[in-house]
Amino acid sequence: MTSVTEASTLSSAEAMRARRKARLAHGLNHAAATLQIVGLGWLSPLLRMAAGDSPRQQGRELWQQMGVPLTALMLFLAAWAWLAPQVNTSLGAIPGPAQVWEQVGVLHADHKAERAKEAAFYDRQAKRNAELLAKDPSAEVKTRPYAGKPTYLDQIVTSLKTVFTGFLLGALVAVPLGVACGLSRTVNAAMNPLIQIFKPVSPLAWLPLVTMVVSATVSSDNPTFEKSFLTSAVTVTLCSLWPTLINTAVGVSSIDKDLMNVGKVLQLSGPTMVRRLVLPSALPYIFTGLRLSLGVGWMVLIAAEMLAQNPGLGKFVWDEFQNGSSSSLARIMVAVFTIGLIGFLLDRVMLAFQAAVSHTGTR
């Protein structure tokens, strides 16, 4: 009797373990896909190892996912450190990784010093106002925001704000237009030449026009937005809406005809049709377009800021170039890496969105 019960419990325990393992494997696979999307694919072999998968196989996988990129990065740094001092410009030698890293520290210290100055300013102001009020309780006291220089971190924040404003404006224009193009062959034929002509135009060509238009239309007394901010954002919009527009149009026009016929049979109204059928099935395409748009927008923004002297990372680069000091080149390199990293992160964020809305869950 006992043996039977033992056997049955044993088998049920084994089954439980197998079930657990299967569940774990499924969870791991799911996690791996997600991690892959957000650029942390190298974590999944580690997780599998922890879960008890064959270490050898996972080790190979880990080398592929993590070891190779790291080695390549090391090689790049070594080559850079070796080659940089051999190029002599009029601003001194090209900085190597060490000098660039040093400037990261300097910029951070600058940021902290500026924040300290800001705090001191507010202290002084509070003291002044307190004294005034002590002398004359009815005195008018003013509190003013601090007017120091924007630090490197401030410039990054400004750039991000600008790019998202321009990008969202672009998306608001491009998605409806794209849907219209996809649904109607007439609209598509009308829009096509315009898209073809404007798509390849460089931001630098738009910039003077945008600057003039913004200057003419925005009042200069206490505008809601700074003119320079609007100039950059609108330039980003003009250059970044095309990928979204084209992809949306393609996505909408390639909807399954049967689906549309079902909609017609059910006598759905136009708006309902768009909302219920068109948009959901075109969503993966739309997000692919948005992802491309954001990449273009980020690239365009830096150029626009540089040329139009609008606050942000582009202006930081230009100002440093104008400074022409011995640390200028290293600081410009810091900006280059910052721009690259932020561009990469933005792309990853969009990719995650895209994966979330598309059916496949992968690229």
Binding site: S90, K142, P145, A147, S220, E226, Q322, G324, S325
Partner: protein, 470 residues
């Protein structure tokens, strides 16, 4: 001179504004000098533009030393890409005011380039520029120069020695190109004056041809200051006229040789001004006054005790948000030495003057001199009577605002009575400090134009690449 007489000299039409001002002044007096109440400004958050040159110093010092704050102003200083962008942004209202070339408010007011009424109540500095030639040109030019007993070239170096070099370049089929920073910049007029004094024609402007290269022996074109050394190195230009630190930068990098400083071309010439639009000045009179007060204090700080504060000023200017060049490059000229050829360091104590010699007072005669040069080179296409020069100068230069600010500072005990030309009528006496010895009297611009060697005189005009009339 008693105080009452002085008050008479600068008596201004009574208006609610002046009443308010004197009220503010008396208030300041009753509170005592240390506790002077700031003016009740119309706009207390300002954005001022500047170009990365050492002569923006008064702005940086006023910000760093808290002079703006003392006046109840919160000021953001923003570097600009080039002079055109700077002027456009002041006109469009994105900037409240800016560090400008002395020719910019004048040029804008008479409509050369952008038309807009820009005024100035504060002259920022004297001197501060130099002319640099590439190493190759210098090597060809050096044998033509008179030498002193120590074997070094005698200064000032005149353009006569450059004339044969330009001829050589032309014989080799190379046009002789030079850079300057802006068509209405001091640097352009100084370079033209220097070239013309040596018999080299720097070219004319005409209404339908604003390149300024008509009949030119030396072709001048615009290059932004910070890019001068790089452009010289690239061989696009053979020399340039620019403010500091870009002449000393050429020596440091070993790519060129500064041959002359502008104080040798015209002793103590006015250089930059602080400009605002006429509309802005009318709308914000007290803010304008407060700004001028802070700037006067900054200029005094820069020059006090025989330039004692210059070392500290260099440290401030070397910050990346201001000029940003290396401190040792900025220090050269700011502390009174100037390196010509590598190793040929000479003392030029007045290379940068911010307050001495009434540097900050906006003299009408300075404005008139710029206008004569605009006429000389054809930027002003037709002859104008002497009265027009005076009227234009008065339209742009506002010494009355300057003196009001100075008076407030004196009353607050922050400035000395003796430091300001209270009784001046805005015209300096006969000026004989030019490299070619031609004396300048600001009251007789047309007569002055006839004395200059190359240039438009009387009723002459440029038509179809030729000088006509007269």
């Amino acid at each position: 001179m008693t105080r009452d007489v002085i008050r008479d000299v600068i008596r201004l039409p009574a208006s609610p504004r002046t009443a308010l001002l004197s009220a503010a002044a008396t208030l300041a007096l009753t509170l005592g000098s240390a506790q002077a109440a700031p003016l009740d400004v119309e706009k207390d958050q300002l954005k001022l533009g500047f170009i990365k040159l050492t002569d923006m110093a008064p702005l940086a010092i006023a910000a760093e030393k808290g002079f703006f704050e003392d006046e109840g102003l919160s000021v953001t200083l923003e570097p600009q890409a080039n002079w055109k962008v700077l002027l456009d942004r002041v006109i469009s209202g994105e900037l409240d005011g800016a560090h400008m070339l002395a020719g910019q408010p004048l040029g804008a007011t008479i409509g050369f380039g952008t038309q807009a009424n820009v005024v100035t109540a504060f002259s920022m500095d004297l001197n501060g520029n130099g002319i640099t030639l590439s190493n190759e040109v210098w090597d060809r030019m050096k044998p033509n120069l008179p030498k002193g007993p120590d074997g070094k070239p005698l200064h000032p170096i005149k353009a006569d020695a450059l004339k044969p070099v330009i001829a050589q370049y032309r014989a080799e089929g190379k046009p002789f190109t030079m850079g300057m920073v802006f068509p209405v910049s001091t640097h352009n007029y100084e370079l033209r004056y220097w070239l013309a004094a040596g018999g080299i024609n720097p070219g004319y402007y005409a209404p339908n041809d604003v390149s300024g290269q008509i009949q030119a022996d030396a072709l001048l074109s615009v290059t932004p200051p910070p890019q001068m050394p790089a452009t010289l190195e690239a061989g696009t230009i053979f020399g340039y006229s620019v403010g500091e630190p870009w002449n000393q930068q050429a020596v440091m990098k070993g790519i060129g040789v500064p041959v002359i400083t502008d104080t040798e071309i015209w002793k103590n010439n006015p250089e930059k001004v602080f400009g605002v639009t006429e509309g802005w000045a009318a709308k914000n009179p007290k803010t304008h006054l407060a700004l001028v007060k802070a700037l006067i204090r900054a200029a005094m700080w820069l020059d006090e005790n025989g330039n004692a504060n210059r070392a500290e000023a260099v440290k401030i200017l070397a910050k990346s948000e201001y000029v940003g060049a290396d401190a040792k490059v900025i220090a050269n000229s700011m502390t009174g030495t100037f390196e010509y050829e590598k190793g040929d360091k000479r003392a030029v104590p007045d290379f940068n003057v911010f307050f001495r010699y009434n540097a900050t007072y906006p003299f009408y005669s300075d404005a008139v001199w710029y206008l004569t040069q605009m006429r000389r080179w054809g930027q002003i296409a037709e002859a104008k009577p002497d009265s027009w020069y005076d009227e234009t100068a008065r339209k742009v230069y506002k010494p009355e605002i300057y003196l009001k600010a100075a008076r407030l500072l004196v009353e607050e005990g922050k400035a000395k009575e003796a430091d300001f030309p209270w009784a001046s009528d805005g015209y300096k006496p006969l000026d004989e400090g030019f490299i070619d010895g031609i004396a300048y009297d600001g009251r007789k611009p047309n007569e002055y134009l006839t004395k200059l060697p190359i240039g438009l005189k009387g009723g002459q005009a440029v038509q179809g690449g030729q000088l006509v009339g007269g």
